[in-house]
């Protein structure tokens, strides 16, 4: 039998781990659980997971601190944070601290599995994820994440804050099919009727700024009926 990827699921809510564990196992993963940050750190040593699903709010040692300690020790095991707060600053912080992705509670368990697979596919063993890079470069396009400014060559692109946030998410998830709902959740933190149309408007804004032809894109591809995909090769810049 092929080795099943190992997931460490960390959440202080027993009801959540008890129900997610069998679901993840049926989805083809080997799963262990931890109820708080300290237990998680201990299990990382013994269980040696391929990916961590980490709740943020936990007693004793919270998820954010676990993540910080891992990254400080140069451990780049992929991490998906489960956030409770939808605020964009909170999410930006999650990425800055070196999380590979995040998911808002309450979530659809299928979405978690999709996210785990996407993160694993993207992960480069032992290396920092794109999500923690300060600069993202794709061809002539460069995004400075600290200042949220994008440049094409030497020229700065004029993007609204939301378009910049959207571009950032697309670039940190290259070659991944992202549904409009997912993008909406990322940039706005919540879904609303007609929201998916808003995503289209913002993508159109980015494309205008990039001077990109939607029918022959270099960067953002439309996947009809499904969403968008960043097709440019993305590297961490210095």
């Amino acid at each position: 039998m092929v080795d099943r990827p190992k997931i460490l699921l960390v959440d202080d809510e027993k009801a959540i781990t008890a129900n997610l564990r069998p679901f993840l196992e049926r989805s083809g993963f080997e799963v262990d659980t931890a109820a708080d940050g300290e237990e998680a750190l201990a299990k990382i040593r013994t269980f040696d997971p391929d990916l961590l699903v980490l709740d943020v709010l936990m007693p004793r040692l919270d998820g954010r601190e676990v993540l910080r300690r891992l990254r400080r020790a140069d451990d780049w095991t992929p991490v998906i944070l489960l956030t409770q707060v939808g605020e964009s600053t909170e999410r930006a912080m999650a990425l800055e601290e070196g999380a590979d992705d995040y998911l808002n509670k309450p979530f659809d368990p299928h979405e978690l599995v999709a996210r785990i697979r996407a993160v694993m596919r993207r992960a480069r063993p032992g290396q920092p994820p794109l999500a923690s890079a300060e600069q993202l470069v794709s061809g002539a396009l460069r995004l400075d994440r600290r200042s949220r400014r994008a440049y094409m060559g030497a020229e700065e692109l004029h993007l609204t804050p939301k378009a910049a946030a959207l571009l950032e998410y697309l670039m940190t998830h290259p070659d991944e099919l992202l549904s409009r709902e997912r993008l909406l959740d990322v940039v706005w933190g919540w879904d609303y009727p007609a929201g998916t149309r808003t995503v289209d408007t913002r993508v159109a804004e980015i494309r205008r700024a990039l001077d990109e032809d939607p029918s022959d894109p270099l960067y953002i591809e439309t996947v009809p009926g499904q969403g968008y995909r960043f097709i440019g090769l993305v590297e961490a810049g210095r």
């Binding site: 939808g86 605020e87 964009s88 309450p106 609204t160 804050p161 939301k162 706005w188 933190g189 919540w190 879904d191 609303y192 009727p193 007609a194 929201g195 149309r197 808003t198 408007t201």
Partner: protein
Amino acid sequence: MTARFAWRLAVALLPLAGGVLAAVLLWNVDSLENPILYARADAGTVVLLFGAILSLFAGAGLVLRAVTDRFRAQVADARAQATEERRRFVQRLDHELKNPLTAIRAGLANLCNDQGPSVQQEALSSVEAEVLRLSRLTADLRKLAELETRPLERAPVNLAELLREAVTLAEEQPGAEARTLTLILPQAPWPLPVVLGDWDLLFLAVYNLLDNAIKFTDPGDTVEVRAVEEGTFVIIEVADTGPGIPQDELERVWEELYRGQSARGIPGSGLGLALVRAVVERHGGQVSLRSRAGHGTVVRVRLPVTSQ
């Protein structure tokens, strides 16, 4: 409170400080004349003056007392109102949670009893539907909480375009085809001015109003969206010829989770108008609502035209 007291004390001592300064100058600066003044008055005038000064002090004290009392009463009123609103909110939240939870428990009971697959399937899908309903409720509550704190994007918004898009989208809603939807936008002498704001949030607000207008009217009714410029404001109105809102419910409709009597059978969280209000107020605007039972409702949004 102490900072305010210190400030007041400083203001009260200002005349004394002025007097001291003037006296020191008069005494010490040689070039200034410091003449000796003599005042003469008969006893009647002195007594009168004395009485007047005393009354002035007493009057000032009284006024001060009245003002503080009124201020205290206002604070107490506001507090009582906030407590009352909070109590109503908790009560409504309890109610909103109770129904789906009851359904879920019943559904789970059906699942546990060894019944046929069709019963199980039905129980499963109803449990799932109720769970989604609860998810939507928490999502809406979060939206509302975030609206008050998240930074607002302030970009030029073309309201005419926004209204056109919102109406187009509302036309796709089930039931819209049975109602007459009209949009009235000024063309002369000039079109609507651009406002600074967050397109997405303003769209959400307008769409919510349209959604309500369609949901709470009957087939054959008319829904009218109109906008005009009024001084330094843009007024957007969403009006309908629906059944209207009873007088005694009018005050409550903006409150979180409030659902009117007639709204009971119609899906929704009772957070729509609260969201509209939060969005508009974050943009420095106001909302109001007029309604007559049996005739219809008009919601009015007043947004400032902020020049850059």
